[in-house]
């Protein structure tokens, strides 16, 4: 083939762009066409299979959600924010955010602008039968700029294309750099790529430099802007008048083809699966199975970016890296049952990987779903459930059995027997608070000081709230526990249920579905007491650092109230990481198998995180965190700090 093809003469009508090759085809497009065809077939079949695996009701909900205006706005916002601009990464690690968005948004713009150019200048070529699949991608190869007839519009597109190409190239440069020195971009640990990942990764790296080469070699024919024309001059300077450009277009096409063939087997499948996952997520559909249906969208939406590696509290020890969400998802993809179970059980369920995930992949939910497949069918002993009622009766509440006879209704205050109380507020301490009696003492003291009319539902002990069972994957057992507690509480006739344990709070709020009973955490309740003037507090100079318990912060989105109240009794100082970045105390009952020594390491790291600003007191609002910190704070490493660990209610 002759490298330069000037068979078309300058025409009088002077279109700006002239189809240089009338057939609109050249052999070099074959690798790309094969790759993209394979990929599109794969993704088409995948989508159908995935949607077919979702339960019918959920599927209907999904289709409907696509037409609800509020949802449409959210979908658009999330698609642009999460898939293209990677806003979540920007917020945490700007350089990393730039890298990801440069590649994602830059590539998207190049594809979009490429198609717009074709639509504007050679619209016929958008037709699939006339090369619509590949023509817009290789547009610059097929056209010839009519010299002297370039319009401002044309130059504008030339500029944009070059601009976005440069934008991507800077992103790629950062990505290559990150492979060697990830810490510069804010990542301590990065994911180990699999074989398919490597093939896709290296071809992805090559695509854009190849595009630059290919386009710059043809820039004197098909036009270009500052980048491609500039580089074109360089080639002319180096290689003389005649440039052999076809090999570069072949290389460009091969890289693209290779990438698209490797993509379904690599982490880059996330580029398109993300879209589906975001739509499913925003439709509010939850996974029922750790691998099928919605879960599959989630699994393939994971980009293996490895942000969860640094987020995971277990990874203070390098040996635990393998239990991170990114590897959990990888093994789910590979159907490696043995490893999946081990990893699913190890997790503390602190939810940080979910909170920080750029596309919101809920790995803890998948781990729970995996635990359900193993644990839900195990035998369980229910005889203790009656304790819920006897405990309620002991606290002076309406007897449980009578409630059952009446047929499960909520009577008004007047219809209750004389010897029972109908409190305005019911306090449920829960198992964990019973292990930290100073919380109970402090809470009761606060209630008395504020004159709260309350009853203590489980003073004589009660039954579990059900959350630990849910975390362990025993959903049926949890449902039974929830039912027993629900009866006791609904029968009490209370208006407000106060919990001092975030684990209880989350499950009472999300799974009990009370009607007419407000469920509040004691931090919220006490903050309200202070705000409404019922409780008088005085400010001291004590430097307080507040630890966000996982189930309260990330789990239930309660960040403000405890801080607001603490700000009135002392001086709040910051931890290194707080709010949704807070580090699990290590005591979480989410993990089924994590060793005590490993937990101790996590606790140390969590304490280090809290102690950066030399607080006098660590305050938390979870009995489990309190217990874990109190037990560790005077041990070994922290021997020399005389920091106190206190519960929220003790501070007030």
């Amino acid at each position: 083939m002759t490298p330069l093809n000037y068979i078309l003469a300058v025409q009088a009508a002077d279109p700006e762009v002239i189809d240089r090759i009338p057939s609109g085809y050249s052999h070099f497009v074959i690798p790309f066409t094969i790759g993209i065809t394979f990929f599109l077939c794969w993704i088409g079949v995948g989508c159908v299979r995935l949607l077919a695996a979702i339960p019918r009701t959920d599927r209907l909900r999904f289709w409907k959600s696509l037409f609800i205006p509020k949802n449409i706005v959210k979908n658009l916002k999330d698609l642009f924010g999460d898939c293209l601009f990677h806003v979540k990464i920007w917020q945490r690690k700007p350089l990393l955010g730039y890298m990801h968005s440069a590649i994602a948004f830059g590539w998207f713009m190049i594809i979009l602008l490429g198609h717009i150019e074709v639509a504007l200048f050679v619209p016929a070529r958008l037709n699939v039968t006339r090369g619509g699949l590949f023509y817009p991608i290789f547009y610059r190869y097929f056209v010839w700029m009519n010299p002297g007839h370039t319009t401002l519009r044309g130059s504008f597109f030339f500029f944009l294309m070059d601009f976005f190409l440069l934008y991507i190239l800077t992103g790629i440069a950062l990505a290559v750099f990150k492979r060697f020195r990830s810490i510069v971009l804010g990542m301590r640990h990065t994911t180990k790529p699999s074989l398919a990942d490597r093939i896709a990764l290296y071809s992805l790296w090559m695509i854009f430099p190849m595009r630059l080469l290919a386009e710059s070699f043809t820039a004197d024919l098909s036009g270009g802007s500052f980048l491609t024309v500039g580089v074109n001059h360089l080639w002319h300077f180096l290689f003389g008048e005649k440039l052999l450009f076809t090999p570069f277009w072949w290389a460009y096409s091969i890289c693209l083809g290779l990438f698209f063939v490797a993509m379904p087997f690599s982490r880059y499948m996330h580029i398109l699966t993300e879209v589906l996952w975001i739509l499913l997520r925003n439709a509010g559909i939850k996974p029922h199975h750790p691998r099928k249906g919605v879960a599959e969208a989630e699994i393939y939406a994971c980009s293996s970016c490895g942000l969860c590696l640094d987020a995971c509290p277990m990874n203070v020890q390098k040996k635990n890296l393998k239990y991170s969400s990114v590897y959990f998802i990888r093994f789910l993809r590979r159907h490696n049952e043995k490893k999946i179970n081990a990893i699913a059980d190890k997790c503390l369920m602190c939810d940080k990987c979910h909170a920080l995930c750029p596309v919101g992949v809920d790995a803890p939910a998948l781990r729970r779903a995996q635990r359900i497949t193993v644990n839900n069918s195990l035998p369980y002993e229910y005889s203790y459930l009656a304790l819920a009622g006897t405990a309620g009766a002991a606290a002076g509440l309406r007897p449980y059995s009578a409630a059952a006879e009446r047929g499960w209704t909520r009577p008004g205050p007047d219809s209750c027997p004389a010897d029972t109380v109908v409190p305005e507020v019911l306090y449920f301490a829960g198992c964990m608070t019973h292990l930290t009696p100073r919380i109970i003492k402090a809470v009761e003291k606060v209630f008395k000081a504020a004159g709260v009319d309350y009853a203590f539902a489980d003073r004589e002990g009660g039954i579990c709230c059900g959350r630990p069972l849910m975390l362990a994957g025993k959903t049926e057992a949890a449902a039974k526990v929830i039912e027993a507690n629900k009866r006791m509480i609904e029968e009490s006739g209370c208006k407000t249920l106060v919990l001092s344990c975030p684990i209880c709070y989350k499950v009472f709020k999300e799974e009990y579905h009370f009607e007419g009973i407000k469920v509040v955490h004691y931090t919220q309740f006490i903050n309200d007491l202070i705000a409404s003037g019922k409780l008088q507090v005085s400010k001291s100079d004590e430097k307080i650092v507040y630890h966000d318990p996982c189930e309260l912060g990330r789990g239930s989105n309660v960040y403000i109230e405890p801080r607001a109240a603490l700000d009135k009794v002392g001086t709040l100082v910051k931890a290194a990481k707080e709010y949704d970045e807070s580090v699990c105390c290590g005591g979480s009952l989410g993990s089924l198998t994590l060793d005590n020594r490993d937990r101790a390491k996590i606790t140390e790291a969590s304490l280090d995180n809290l102690l950066v600003n030399d607080p006098d007191t660590i305050v938390t609002a979870c009995p489990l965190c309190l217990k874990t910190f109190s037990e560790t704070v005077s041990n070994s490493k922290h021997l020399l700090t005389d920091v106190k660990v206190k519960d929220f209610a003790e501070m007030i």
Binding site: T436, P437, R438, G461, N596, L626, E631, N635, S636, L639
Partner: protein, 351 residues
């Protein structure tokens, strides 16, 4: 010239080793951080298995240390190893050039406040083994007022990975049995319960003590850990436990609960260890050259260890360990230390 030997810690191990080394003719300097000697022994009333008064044992130990240079209320400010000896600056301003150093820093009792579910420091009627000994010694404790039902909780801060204490503290089982008998003697009408995981009554006469507690004193032993303790409005305690023999949960109302706090590595000992960058094992106690053959030698030449600085021990074991350390020090100071030319090689071969 008499070699200087510095002994850190004036508890039973430090006292016994001082006495032995003094007898051998060395120049012994004993330092103690408190104002009086004896360590935990000075706070104890009577000793298992025979009920010997602790005072008697302690005064015997102190008597035998005559001639030892003693500094109380003294700690180590700085310590560094010279070519062969240790240069030690004390907080009282004195500097000692010591040819051998013996660390007998002992143990701390597990801080029962950390086991919050048992309510020590929160409920009035929860006390520890040390509190009970103090009561026996002084006869007064506001928390102990004619209790009718008394419980002992074994393994508080021992064999409990959750509180970071995996090892057995060795002495608490026998102490609990001894204290249960004593408390029954003090309050004959009271019912006494011991909550245990398993009973480790390994020493001579310990088993006899255990049988006596059951047969003669009617003390009830319940196999199962206490889960949690709560308080009634009248101040009595509700103890929830599991009776693992009957496989049933159990709930008992008690007037007094005694927590058998276990042994933990001593904080002041750790501070000394940090100055010397001594190796500490995972359990927090100092590492020894060889657990079987050289249990009194540390990893640093000329630095010896005795007593509970290297792990929980009963009193007789501690005393035996101190004597062994004295012999080891003597061997070092006669065989290795004087040979200036071959010192390094000898240390390599025989330390």
């Amino acid at each position: 010239m008499k070699n200087n030997i510095l002994i850190i810690g004036g508890g039973p191990a430090g006292l016994e080793a001082s006495a032995q080394l003094q007898r051998m003719g060395y120049n012994v300097i004993l330092i103690e951080k408190d104002s009086s000697l004896g360590g935990h022994l000075a706070k104890w009333d009577r000793l298992f298995p025979d009920g010997v008064p602790a005072d008697e044992v302690l005064s015997g130990l102190i008597r035998s240390t005559e001639g030892v240079k003693l500094f109380t209320e003294t700690e180590i400010r700085a310590i560094n190893r010279l070519e062969k000896s240790y240069n030690v600056r004390l907080t009282n301003g004195i500097t000692v050039l010591s040819d051998a150093v013996l660390i007998a820093s002992g143990f701390d009792l597990f801080n029962a406040v950390k086991k919050e579910e048992y309510g020590y420091g929160i409920y009035d009627r929860v006390i520890t083994n040390a509190d009970l000994e103090a009561y026996f010694k002084t006869g007064s404790d506001k928390r102990i007022d004619h209790p009718k039902r008394i419980g002992f909780v074994h393994c508080v801060g021992s064999r409990d990975e959750k509180s970071g204490c995996r090892s057995c503290s060795k002495v608490c089982c026998a102490t609990a049995v001894k204290q249960a008998i004593e408390v029954k003697e003090a309050f004959p009408d009271a019912e006494v319960f011991c909550f245990y995981m398993d009973l480790r009554l390994f020493g001579r006469h310990y088993e006899d003590l255990y049988l006596k507690a059951q047969k003669e004193y009617g003390i009830r032993f319940i196999r199962g850990r206490v889960a949690e303790v709560s308080e009634n409005l009248d101040g009595t305690l509700i103890v929830k436990a599991e009776d693992t023999v009957a496989s049933k949960p159990l709930k008992a109302t008690l007037d007094l609960l005694v927590l058998m706090s276990g042994m933990r590595p001593s904080a002041s000992g750790k501070a000394v260890g940090d100055l010397l960058e001594m190796t500490v094992e995972e359990d927090g106690y100092f590492a020894v050259r060889s657990g079987i053959a050289a249990g009194q030698r540390s990893l640093l030449p000329g630095l010896f260890l005795a007593g509970t600085a290297t792990g929980p021990k009963t009193l007789p074991e501690t005393l035996a360990d101190a004597r062994a350390a004295a012999v080891e020090i003597d061997r070092y100071l006669t065989e290795i230390f004087p040979d200036a030319r071959n010192y390094k090689q000898l240390v390599r071969e025989r330390w």
